[in-house]
Structures are given as structure tokens and as C-alpha cells.
Amino acid sequence: MSRSRATRRPIRWHIAVFLAPALIVYTAIMIIPLFGTLNLSLFTRGQGNTREFVGLANFVTLFTDPRWSGAFWNATWNNLWFFIIHMLVQNPIGIALAAILSSPRLRFAAFYRTAIFIPAILSFVIVGFVWRLILSPLWGVAPNMMDAIGLGNWFAPWLGQESSALTTLALISVWQFVGIPMMLIYAALLSIPDEVLEAAEMDGITGASQFWKIKLPLILPTIGIISILTFVGNFNAFDLIYVAQGALAGPNYSTDILGSFLFRTFFGFQLQLGDPHMGATVATVMFFIILAGVSLYLFGIQTRLRRYQF
């Protein structure tokens, strides 16, 4: 701040007063704990209640010790798959819905918009349980409905099978959040000026080819933002797994992702005691994964996207 070297001008205390509350709360509750966690990962519990500095030993343990590395890599790959499903299913559906919604003179657009967004405001607790009930073979809603359209034989207790549980959960999460990319793309599409579209029509570019050749390139920056938001959201997801499958991320850890792995490492489960230092190590790895993703986007992708000023 200008306090130390402010020449001639009086100290403007009000600037400090305006900034102080936000700065203090944000620094104390968010930034310091974040670095505190990074720092904790360099220590381990010594004899008695002391803390011993061990350098990067915790990370070596996490990556290579068979007691840890299996679970860690399992959670990491599962998380990657979770993210891939979102990118392949959620975002294309969101874009398609937005493209349809933004077509001119569409009636009831506001109604569709509001309705399709509703799942996104519900908590994971509700969403997880609703789908657990619907997919439950006990209740039989899903098998009955599939029977009605002749697909009865295809039903399986998806959430209970190791091979399909993770994909099912990812699709539930897609169902919940598809409204967010839809809304952001919709806004981006509406902001394309009419002159551009009219000029395209003059040149005979209409309908689907107008979407692919004119609109899609113009909304690429928004798609970039959605991708990075999806990435950050997926790599610290936890609630849905915890609600639908419990802290053990069953069956047999097949739905374990980094968030649930962090929770178990930190708090312990069944016979294993919780370990704050290993928990901090997992959190640090997650921090670097997210940081890598965000940096890749900011420096690798965003700067290359051409932005159009209207």
C-alpha cells in the first residue's frame, strides 16, 4: 500500500479500512490454511506428539509404497475418467441444448431454461439419494420403465457393480449439472451480434452450417471457461460419492476419487487411523493437479483462443 512512501499526500486510511476485513478473513481462513496444508505434508508424526520434518518422504510413500500407491493411483484414474465423462457428455449436451434454446422466436424458452436448470440447485444429498432409489432393483422403477420400452433385459444394478458404478455416478453428476454449461453457452450465443449472423445469411450460410462455421468459433472462449470449471469441480468432488456410496467408495473402491480418498486418509476408516500428514499430502497433490490444469488453460489455451470484439 502507499502508506510507507506516500509523499506529500496524507495517508488515506479509508482505503485500508475498506480492504482490511476482506483481506484478513480471506488470508486467515483461505490462504494461510492452504499453505499450512502444503507445509504439513512435509512433516510426519514423531515420537510422542512431536512433528518431524521428513522432506518429500510422504510423497514418495504415496506414490510408491504399496499400501498407499494402489489406492492413490486408483483414485486418480477414476477421477480422470469422471472428468472425461463430463467433458464428453455434459458439455456437448449443454451446447446442443443452448443452441436449440437460442434459436430465434422459440416459444417457452424461459420455461425450458428454468426447468432444465433445477437439478443444479439441489444438493448432492438429494440427488444421490434420488438416483439410488430410482436405480434400486428393490423398488423397481428403473427396470419397470425399461421394460415398458422393451429394454428390460438391459437393466442391471449399475450402482452396485464394480464395472459400471463410477460411470453411473458420473452420469448422475452430468444429469445434475448440465444446466450450467447450457446457461453459459446460451448467454454467449445471445451475445453474438445480429449483423454477424445477417452477413452470414447473405453469404448463404444458414442452419447447421451457420452453427458450425460462425457461432461455434465465436463461443470457443466460453467453452474453454466451462472446461476449466468442470476440471476444477471434478477434481475436488466428494459429496456425491460420499452420499451414494459412502466413505469407502464401494463397491470395492471402484468409485473412489481424490476427494473421497482425501477424506478417508485424513479421518481414517474402519481399522486405519486418520493421518493428518498423509491427508495433507493428498491435498497437496490435488492442489498441484488443479494448479496444472488451471495453468495449462490460462497459458496454453486461453492465450491462443482468438477473442472477437464487437
Partner: protein, 278 residues
């Protein structure tokens, strides 16, 4: 293009949108109708609406007798409203300072405050819990309020400073000539003028706070501070075989959120739309 092709295209658009709307709403609808049916009707004919014979509110009775839902609801309300209040007030103050005054480090300060938009606060959980234990704040509302305030600040500052820049300089300078202090200018001129933006930020901040499970589970799992989200999660886990109670609890949890959403949906959608255009 012929008129016929136009009609065809618009009905195809409606067909897709209606199909997706059903996909989005039907699961929720199914839970709500079954919560009002007897156990036998839930299993025999889950897709039917409740009739005079199958109508039964026993699930709601169980929930209201067994669960402490009124208390949980109150806890959620206290935590959400207080966090919103502090995040908006502190966020608006910081945004005003960043937008209004030129001082050394202004840009850096803005970047520092914006960091938190991308880095989730959950990653600091281990140290946050240690800190809350040391400060004796575990199982209090304050633990949650502090965390959510800190978490809400980056986005609030980011969006509000954008709007604070648009407040007319003439207005503020006229006030300065009239001898109003900078604080009065903030509270009586700037703040009322950015009210629409405040509402947008409020809606954005409110939904994740209300729905969060992670921090209530870790920082305030005690009976007296359980939030509605955590309380219903535990209730659902305990009553997992009592279908009436589970369906009723879900319905009760869905209801307030959807009502609030329908009231504020225009604000929310306008907010997203404007934010993305920028």
C-alpha cells in the same frame, strides 16, 4: 426456406427440449408423488399419482417426530444468511476500494483476491480444522460462517468491482464537494447503486453454502450445529429401509430450495447471462 420446413424444425426443437425437461424433472417428481403414498402403493405402483386409497402421510410424520429438522433448518439458515452478509459486505467494501482508488499494489491486490476463484478452499481443510480446534470453534456456527465467508469473497470482489467501476464519478464527486466522508459515499451512494449485482452474487454464493456437505461434516457435526444438508444425509442413512420416511425427508429437503429458486430464477439467469457476456 419454406414455411413447412420451418414448422418442422421448430417442432423438432420443442420435442428435444420437452424430452430433456422431462428427463430433468421426472426423477424429482417421482420422489415427491411417492412420498405421499402408503408403503404398499410405493412398491406396487411407483409411477402412479397418489389416489384416495393410497394417500398416506406416515413418512412425513416419522420425519417430523424422529428428526430434528426444524433445528437443522434453523442452523442452515443462520449459517447461510450470516456468511452471505459478511461475504457481501466485506466483498463490496474491498471491491469499492479496488475500483475507486488508485494506490500502489491495486492490481496485485485484485489478483491476490481473485486467486481463490480457481483454487478450492477444501484443499486447506487439514489446516483449517487444526486452526478451528485451536480457536475452540469446532461445532459452532462461527466455524462454518468464517469458512464460507472466506470462500465467497473472491467471486464477490471480482464481480462487484466490475460493477463498482460503473458507478458515476460525478455522483461521487458531488457528494465529496458536499463534504460526505468516503464511508458515507460507499454506504449511501455506491452500495445502493450496485444492488442488482449484490443480488446476483448472493444467489451464486447461497446455493453452494446451503448444499455443502464437506465442511459441516468436518467442522460442525455436533447435533446442535448440524445443517439441513448434513442432518438429512444422516437421517437418510439411518432410515434407509423406511421408504416412507426417506421419500418424505427428500421431499422436505427439495421443497424450500425449489421454491427459493423459482422466486430468484430470473435474477440468477440474468446474472449468469450478464456475467458471461462480459
Amino acid at each position: 426456406m419454406s414455411a413447412r420446413a420451418n414448422i418442422l424444425r421448430s417442432s423438432a426443437a420443442h420435442a428435444i427440449l420437452i424430452a430433456y425437461t422431462i428427463l430433468a424433472l421426472y426423477p424429482v417428481f417421482l420422489i415427491v408423488i411417492n412420498s405421499m403414498k402408503s408403503r404398499r402403493a410405493i412398491f406396487n405402483d411407483p409411477l402412479a399419482l397418489p389416489t384416495r386409497q393410497s394417500f398416506d402421510l406416515v413418512g412425513f410424520q416419522t420425519v417430523l417426530e424422529q428428526g430434528n429438522f426444524l433445528l437443522y433448518f434453523q442452523n442452515s439458515l443462520i449459517v447461510t444468511v450470516a456468511s452471505l452478509f459478511f461475504a457481501l459486505l466485506f466483498g463490496a467494501m474491498a471491491a469499492f476500494a479496488l475500483a475507486e482508488y488508485r494506490f500502489r499494489g491495486n492490481l496485485l491486490m485484485g489478483l491476490y483476491l481473485a486467486l481463490g476463484i480457481m483454487i478450492p478452499i477444501r484443499l486447506g481443510t487439514v489446516a483449517i480444522l487444526e486452526m478451528m480446534v485451536a480457536a475452540n470453534l469446532v461445532n459452532t456456527h462461527w466455524a462454518l460462517i468464517l469458512v464460507y465467508t472466506a470462500n465467497g469473497l473472491p467471486l464477490a470482489v471480482f464481480i462487484l468491482s466490475e460493477f463498482m467501476r460503473q458507478v458515476s464519478d460525478d455522483l461521487k464527486n458531488a457528494a465529496r464537494i458536499d463534504g460526505l466522508s468516503e464511508y458515507r459515499i460507499f454506504f449511501t451512494i455506491a452500495l445502493p447503486l450496485v444492488r442488482p449485482a449484490l443480488a446476483t452474487v448472493a444467489v451464486f454464493t447461497m446455493i453452494p453454502i446451503w448444499n455443502d456437505l464437506w465442511f459441516p461434516l468436518i467442522l460442525a457435526p455436533g447435533e446442535s450445529t448440524k445443517t439441513l444438508t448434513l442432518g438429512s444425509q444422516i437421517f437418510l442413512g439411518q432410515y434407509v429401509t423406511n421408504w416412507n420416511a426417506v421419500l418424505a425427508a427428500l421431499t422436505l429437503a427439495i421443497f424450500p430450495v425449489v421454491v427459493l429458486y423459482l422466486i430468484f430464477s430470473r435474477q440468477l439467469i440474468r446474472g449468469i447471462t450478464r456475467g458471461a457476456v462480459k
